[in-house]
């Protein structure tokens, strides 16, 4: 997989030898890629507070993404949805 990404140097070719810095853009693949060393992410916490915080963060992130559009004040179709 990801021959294109590999060509662009955006995926890891293996562990970085000790004492050497990982090159910019040479990020490790997310957990799940079968042909590369992986860094398995920590499993998400199921603690109620952590889950609550995550859900609130999801709402906030969605809000930020929408607000980043800076939709102009202009005439447009009303918000009653029709396909």
């Amino acid at each position: 997989m990801n021959a294109n990404a590999r060509r662009r140097g955006q995926v890891s070719r293996g562990p970085v030898p000790e004492g050497r810095k990982r090159p910019e853009g040479d990020k490790p693949l997310p957990y799940g890629d079968s042909d590369q060393p992986t860094e398995k992410p920590e499993p998400p916490s199921d603690e109620p507070e952590a889950v609550k915080k995550l859900s609130e963060e999801n709402v906030r992130k969605a809000s930020e993404a929408l607000r980043a559009l800076k939709l102009p004040n202009e005439a447009e179709p009303c918000t009653v949805f029709k396909p």
Partner: protein
Amino acid sequence: MSERRARPAGGRGAGGADEELAFAGVAGLAGLLRRKKVSAVELTELFLERLERRGPTYNAVAAVLPERGRREAQRVDERRRRGAGRGTLDGIPYGAKDLVAARGAPTTWGAPTYQDRVLDYDAAVVTKLQRAGSVLAAKLAMVELAGGGGYRYASASLQGPGLTPWNTAHWSGGSSSGSGAAVAAGLVPWAIGSETSGSIITPASFCGVTGVRPTYGLVSRRGAMALAWTLDKLGPMARSAEDCALVLEGMAGPDRGDPTSSGKQFRWEPVRGRELRRLKIGFAPADIEEMAAPAAQEGLAAGLKVLRAVGAKFVERTLPSDLPYGPAVSTVIFAEGSAAFAQLIESPEFETLVDAKQKAGLRAGLSVPARDHIDAQRVRVRIQEAFREIFAEVDVLVSGGRGAAAPRIEEPLDVPRGPGTRSSMDSRGQPERPEAQRPNNAALIAAGNLAGLPAVCFPCGFTAEGLPLSLQVVGPPFSENLLLSVAAWFQAQSDWHLRRPPGL
């Protein structure tokens, strides 16, 4: 209560005439009924027995409905004996996702809170199907409240984690989990599913069946649980595109009781041969090469290769990259879902929901500002405009149904599993890897739902592990005929949709 909830049952070997009937599909069974090779009662007994015996293996069934099923089937047979048959669906059993109301049957919405609820009315779609002679044999399992809060685990259901018949260590997808699994395992010839954002496409993909997300408003939702009023759709899941088309004819149509009904009918008039060759099909190579999980890439590419043989012109065409598809669909579902369930959220019973993240998400949704919901609706208008431009250039878009096969049931669904972001089972069908390098249509499920567009998802191969993969085609509003024709053509060239899970 007159109907039976699903219970574990003993096994019986695979093979034999019954097994063949169970996988004969809607068109096949209609032919047998027409030729009087089998009766509606016999078919109903067959599927009731399979639902009882095999349903628990996949956590696919919320309730088996033997009394209602037998009563309806007897009526059909009596009527047919008088020469008053009613068409293709007459006498064919089916199952309904457990968010569709059926008189006298449990309707749990997949949530412990409603496990003892029995409604005294039929949803409009159930009434319509009954008039067509369909026999309601079961209510099928689902993710609790259709997953409106954004669940973390496949186990987020009163009936337990839905299991794909292809490998019961893996999820059947959500939220129409039981509808997908039941069709794949031949427990019913077809089923009603529902989609707010991905809930038909995902289980169809993970279970290796064909699913249709109709245009918003084509099928009445009266009597079905509301999750997000501006997004919810009911649609058929079956073993082939043709079966889905025949069923959609029976499901679609105007309903004065549903203010969002489009007033349109659906008639299956397949587009064939030369017309299909004239099509322009939009796609994005990055969907498979970059966005799909490694284990899925080969199978998806092989499926696309088969589709290319239709002779249509394939052109690269992608959704605009500057629209926030995921945030928009999340905001709409959070806001509308939390409003729909506000009384429940504020009651003590809310704590009985299974999934902690689902609960937290629904609570958080109560705080979505009106401004954000309105902005999300304004974004939808822009997405519709983008699709109009796309469909001025191409007739349909094609992409992977999901970018990966079914995850294992214990995996957290909100953690990316790999480069195939849609593999990580974000329950809303939104991409989780916005940093993709090339333009792509990874947000097609979210975008298509936001724009109210129809989609057909159909099997296109398997991973090395033997898990199903799928393609989806998406088109302009009310283009179901064209989308189903493309899928039917594909299925005439391939046999993935005919294959059966191990042991069945």
